[in-house]
Amino acid sequence: MKKNMQHTESFLKGLTTLTGLPYKKVRQYAKENNPFNILEHPHIMEPNEKQLEKIGLLNEFIASYNLLKIYESEKKITLNSSTVSGQYFLALLGGMKDKERFMVAFLDNGNNLIETKTMSEGSVGQAVVYPREVLKYAIACDCKAIILAHNHPGGCTNSSPEDRALTQRFVDIFHPLEIKVLDHIVVGGTRYSSMAENGEIPLQCQSKANYEVIALGENVVEESQDSSQYTLSF
């Protein structure tokens, strides 16, 4: 109990030093609530712009730090749930505001990561995806599944109609080859959403494989839910 109180105290002091949030205010909040909520839902502290930016940076740092710890342990990275995949791509794409990047994780039959590749990158509204290139890498590494991910520079984490159409195109290409499209992670700011978690991953082909280039686009859709609460295992 005492250790917990000391921990909370150190956490709160660290948080206020790094973000500029008033100590009294965070202390008051932590009396009745979980102090980690402050990082996950910063608006509860009514931060000013600078404080909000610092909280965003801190979240991004923690995500990157956690990913690096996995790399350093040299363990296999297994993307076996939408939460793990979301955290993984959040570390790679989080906070990217000036450009769009489309990435693909190629997995073996145990969902262990073989390789992650940036398949497209461009300024906002300029990035395009070449499905043929993704297919080339998938065949080369003999993967059994793939996870798609890209960022929305505007910060919205909801999948747009274009994102869903792009996912369907990939299912149309990979499903006949018995390569599963497990998820499509959309990262916006310091948050993410999983299309698998939201039941938006198509289970079967809709039309013939189409290898034409796909333009990445972010359509702003009203955000309605926080996906990070629910875990869906593949």
């Binding site: 660290g14 980690f36 801190l58 923690i62 730090y65 690096l68 790399y71």
Partner: protein, 80 residues
């Protein structure tokens, strides 16, 4: 992206974020990036007190705060 490349890209990103969070100049950011490469991020924070980083007192205090936050947040989330 192989593991080595991913790790290096991660170190670069972490050093850049740290620089913005703590308020470092480009020389200090580069120094920390090199530290990450040489000893890893985990060891960097583990041995933070004994590293000779030649940073301002304020930056150093912020690094110690960051260490506390990631340790406690990691423990809570079962990642430490």
């Amino acid at each position: 992206m192989n593991l080595e490349k991913s790790r290096n890209a991660g170190y670069k990103k972490c050093a850049a974020l740290l620089s913005l969070l703590v308020g470092l100049d480009s020389v200090e950011e580069e120094k920390i990036y090199r530290c990450f490469q040489n000893m890893g991020v985990d060891n960097f924070f583990l041995y933070l007190e004994s590293l000779e980083l030649d940073l301002s007192h304020e930056a150093y205090e912020k690094l110690k705060s960051l260490k506390a936050v990631i340790e406690i947040f990691g423990e809570e989330r079962g990642q430490a």
